[in-house]
Amino acid sequence: MGRSYLGEFEELVLLAVTVLNPGAYGVSIAEELRQRANRTISLSAVHIALYRLEEKGYVTSEMGGATLSRGGRRKRLFSITTAGREMLAEIQQVRDQFWNAIVNPAQS
């Protein structure tokens, strides 16, 4: 019903936002993904994912305070919304069901 689904990368970004809360912004998310998923991550891809998630209503954002390290530019800090949490939970549930079916085929 007009529900938006998540791509794999978007899902990862959404998870990273949740983990890093309240300090989730472009660079930190990219770094987190690099470490955990062990793959090359481009900033632009992260940003696109973030903005898409925001358009879909799964994250929300506000401008944070200025810091010295960024040439005085402010960060946009992202945090997950309830809709986002529900989405993640639902994905997890679907996956779990599948895994259960794989581990224990009788129980499906």
Binding site: Y51, E54, K56, G57, R73
Partner: protein, 901 residues
């Protein structure tokens, strides 16, 4: 310092990033990029970090960001991308934001279009004049473009076109004459003697009567046939529908015809294997069918007969001595042989070998052969090309002129209108409209008018196309779907016309001072460019007057051509073909025709005294002089009735005696003069003309044996009944249609196997002036259009002046000025413009027409009447155009004009 510089991301990348990044996201993303960069510097070093930064920047050139970048208005810099609203589907909000960003662009456009539409609807006459001018200009442009395009595209479709050449010949005698035609054996010579020739083929054209033998009623058709060698279809790319391209003309008595003819002859039945008869003599079997000839080829014959059919039986095909006007030779050079200019020059040098190999020493000097590229064939006037490149250029120039004239008109009217719109411009400016926006508004408006005009122009061009094709005997098509360069031209035309006509008024409008405009204090001098507009009208009228002068001159010369005395009678003479020239046949025809009471006189002859065809010039040796004369003489054949038939007079001696072979000659005065003898002295002398001896029995008074273009040449007349291809009949003037009908009936009875045709002598003579006739028609049309568009411009200018002088007229009228003096106010303006235009046009017209008339040996004189007529006509038309508007202005109530202060 240096260190710090090195520590920062690459400069160009930062700039690029700024360009690519949506402004409202710029701060945060730039921050992230910077932070990442600093982090990377620590991790992998400066160089690598810079590389990563640059790469990352490039990655921002993704559709997602670019779309955002383009859709965001420059000024709107929202602090937050999306207001904080938890648990809300924010997507909607964002979309609507995007929507407003997009629609603010289109909204303005919509407003422009609405304003334009209302404005056009309010000033209907203005719109009409503009559109009419543009329609005429543009449809001429489209037609001329298609025509030029058509002519440029001739025979370009052959796949090997760049390697196909036509062999041409040069005859070096007293002067050099060039022909696109060649002696018949040259095809074989080219094929056998030269390594650079891959394939060669002769092509010999004839007119023929085709009868389909399989039909019971033996249908007859008059079609052109060409004898070609089998390699012809390997050189040229005419698509073969049935039959084998390589072998279809290899056997005697085989033929290739087009689909269209196959249908005409055999009514849709399988044509291969069917046969038809040519000239009631030889049967040919169809071995190949080709697709109908494309429009843009100079090969117009639709029946190709195998060359081997005639090569055995016709000895003249092996003669190097004569050049028949239907014989052409085409060669296909080996790949690479014609690649460089030098190769062609070498090839032509090698071809000098033909002269030495096949001719005796004396003739080898006279005959030279060259190669002409296929693409050159259509354009080269030396070899009777259809149209010269210079003519195409002239046509294109006329088109450009007409379009410019239409644009000028538009500019004139639009600037004249501008004053009326000053309030609108003022309000727009006060509301924050920028100069560029106003300019684009006006361009939009112009584009709308151009588009409307354009639709009409295309329609008009479509409807005029068939007439143009008939007039110019072309096969131009307007096909926007398959031919890609027509649509491209049309779009370019649209854009160019819009910008030429829209930009000047646009700049004027955009330059208004808002306060002055709102207060209604704008004066015409501030609108400016009055002198520019005057200049434009002068230019328009100079062009149309030049065309008019040309038209009058050509028309007078044409009248001179048809009315001036040619030295022989040409009224009420009908000419019929004589297909079989045996004495028995001709005397039978004579007997039958003589029975008709309407036929006053009959003569059998080769050609009338002056004729575009059937002219044959040959050598002459007079009396006992040992050497032939230096000049050549035109040999005409006719029976003794010839003189009285055409009213030719003798200055000495007597008429020819009846004979079927050459016995006696009549010379004309010019011939006698060239021989250096008095007419009386020549009588009784022996003369050898065209290797036939005879006695000179009389000398004719000179008559024009060609058009007025050429001088009177030496002519002789003799009796040669086997050359009497025509019968000329003098008919009484009463009931011509009935006479013609009975002539046809008798002719068909005496020549059952052939196709009847007839021609009046004066019609026959107009062939001399075919191109002039055409030129006259074209000039008429162009002059009319130019004058019409010019008048529209004049009307615009006068309306402009009327608006400008409203107050002045009011004041003058209150002070007691009469209507006449006020009309004169306008009159003197346009009169001076026309006179200036005339002063420009007259010398140009004089010069051009002097060149044109120089082409005629006998022509009219350019006199003042022609020029007076030209300016008189322009004045008359201009008065009609201007009259209404100025009278209206003069009759206006002065109170209305003065009250609005």
């Amino acid at each position: 310092m240096k260190n710090e510089n090195n520590m920062s991301p690459p400069h160009w990348a930062s700039k690029l990033f700024k360009l690519l990044c949506p402004p409202d996201l710029f701060e945060e993303i730039q921050g992230d990029m910077q932070e990442q960069f600093e982090f990377d510097v620590k991790r992998v070093g400066v160089k690598a970090a810079q590389r990563i930064y640059a790469l990352e920047t490039l990655k921002f050139a993704k559709p997602y960001f670019l779309k955002k970048r383009l859709l965001t208005p420059k000024k709107a810099k929202s602090q937050s991308l999306i207001p904080n609203r938890q648990n809300q589907p924010i997507a909607k909000k964002t979309k609507s934001q995007q929507l407003t960003a997009k629609s603010s662009n289109t909204a303005m456009l919509q407003n422009y279009l609405t304003t334009a539409r209302r404005n056009l609807a309010r000033h209907k006459s203005y719109t009409l004049i503009n559109i009419l001018g543009l329609v005429l200009g543009m449809s001429c442009g489209i037609l001329i473009f298609s025509l030029v395009n058509y002519h440029l595209g001739f025979d370009r479709f052959h796949e090997k076109a760049d390697r196909i050449y036509r062999v041409t010949s040069e005859l070096h005698q007293e002067d050099v004459s060039k022909y696109g035609t060649v002696p018949q054996p040259i095809g074989a010579a080219m094929r056998n003697d030269f390594a650079f020739v891959e394939k060669a083929s002769m092509l010999i054209n004839f007119g023929a009567t085709i009868s389909v033998t399989t039909e019971k009623n033996k249908a007859k058709f008059g079609d052109r046939v060409a004898y070609t060698e089998q390699q012809f279809f390997e050189i040229m790319d005419f698509p073969v529908v049935a039959g084998d391209r390589k072998t279809m003309l290899s056997q005697p008595n085989t033929a290739v015809i087009t689909e269209q003819l196959a249908d005409k002859y055999f009514h849709g039945e399988e044509a291969i294997g069917k046969s038809f008869r040519v000239d009631n003599k030889t049967d040919f079997t169809v071995t190949g069918v080709i697709k109908d000839l494309p429009e843009n080829t100079d090969f117009r014959q639709e029946i190709f007969l195998s060359y081997v059919t005639i090569s055995q039986t016709q000895p003249w095909l092996n003669s190097w001595g004569g050049i028949y006007s239907g014989t052409q030779a085409f060669v296909l050079l080996k790949p690479g042989a014609g690649a460089a200019k030098a190769d062609i020059t070498n090839a032509q040098k090698a071809m000098a070998g033909i002269s030495t190999k096949y001719y005796n020493a004396k003739d080898a000097k006279a005959f030279k052969f060259n190669l002409q590229p296929l693409s050159d064939m259509h354009m080269n006037q030396e070899f009777d090309g259809t149209i010269a490149k210079s003519q195409l250029l002239a046509l294109s120039l006329v088109a450009v002129f007409l379009i410019i004239t239409a644009c000028v008109n538009f500019i004139n009217l639009a600037t004249a209108q501008a004053l009326g719109r000053s309030k609108e411009i003022g309000v727009r400016k006060v509301m924050g409209s920028m100069k560029s926006q106003l300019f684009w508004q006006f361009i939009t408006e112009t584009a709308l008018i151009t588009l409307i005009a354009f639709i009409f122009a295309v329609t008009l061009a479509y409807f005029c196309l068939p007439y143009m094709n008939v007039m110019l005997s072309t096969r131009v098509t307007i096909d926007l779907l398959t031919n890609w360069n027509q649509p491209i031209f049309i779009v370019c035309l649209l854009v160019v016309v819009t910008f030429i006509s829209g930009s000047y008024p646009g700049l004027v409008l955009a330059g208004f001072q808002p306060i002055a405009a709102l207060k209604g204090k704008l004066t015409q001098s501030q609108v400016g460019g009055f002198s520019i507009r005057k200049g434009l009208v002068v230019a328009q009228f100079a062009i149309s007057q030049t065309l008019l002068i040309g038209t009058i001159v050509v028309a007078s010369q044409m009248r001179f051509n048809s009315e001036a005395d040619m030295g022989f009678k040409k009224d009420a003479i009908v000419m019929l073909p004589v297909p079989e020239t045996t004495p028995a046949k001709t005397s039978a025809m004579r007997a039958r025709f003589s029975q008709l009471p309407e036929v006053e006189k009959i003569t059998f002859c080769e050609a009338p005294p002056a004729s575009p065809d059937g002219n044959f010039d040959t050598g002459i040796r007079y009396a006992s002089r040992p050497e032939p004369e230096k000049f050549t003489i035109f040999l005409k054949s006719g029976d003794p009735e010839y003189l009285s038939m055409f009213g030719l007079q003798l200055v000495a001696g007597r008429n020819l005696a009846q004979s079927d072979t050459v016995r006696e000659y009549l010379l004309n005065e010019t011939a006698a003069k060239k021989l250096g003898v008095k007419p009386e002295e020549a009588i009784g002398k022996n003369v050898n003309i065209n290797n036939a001896d005879g006695t000179i029995v009389g000398v004719m008074k000179d008559f024009h044996n060609f058009s007025f273009r050429s001088k009177i040449e030496p002519v002789c007349l003799t009796t040669r009944s086997d050359h009497y291809y025509r019968a000329a009949l003098k008919i009484s003037g009463q009931n011509v249609p009935k006479t013609l009908a009975s002539l046809e009936k008798i002719w068909n009875e005496t020549n059952a196997e052939y196709i009847y045709s007839y021609q009046f002598l004066d019609d026959h003579l107009t062939y001399f002036y075919g191109t002039d006739e055409l030129m006259l028609k074209l000039m008429w049309i162009f002059a009319a259009i130019a004058i019409f568009i010019g008048c529209l411009g004049l009307y615009g200018l006068i309306s402009f002046m009327a608006a400008q002088k409203t107050k002045e007229i009011g004041v003058r009228k209150t002070l007691g000025a009469g209507i006449g003096s006020i009309i004169w106010l306008f009159g003197k303006q346009f009169a001076s413009l026309l006179i200036i235009a005339f002063i420009i046009a007259a010398p140009i017209g004089w010069w051009l027409m002097d060149k044109y008339l120089a082409d005629f040996q006998y022509h009219i004189d350019l006199n003042a009447t022609i020029f007076i007529a030209a300016i008189g006509i322009t004045f008359l038309i201009a008065i009609v155009t201007v009259g209404y508007r100025s009278v209206k202005a003069a009759l206006m109530n002065p109170v209305k004009a003065l009250r609005s202060e």
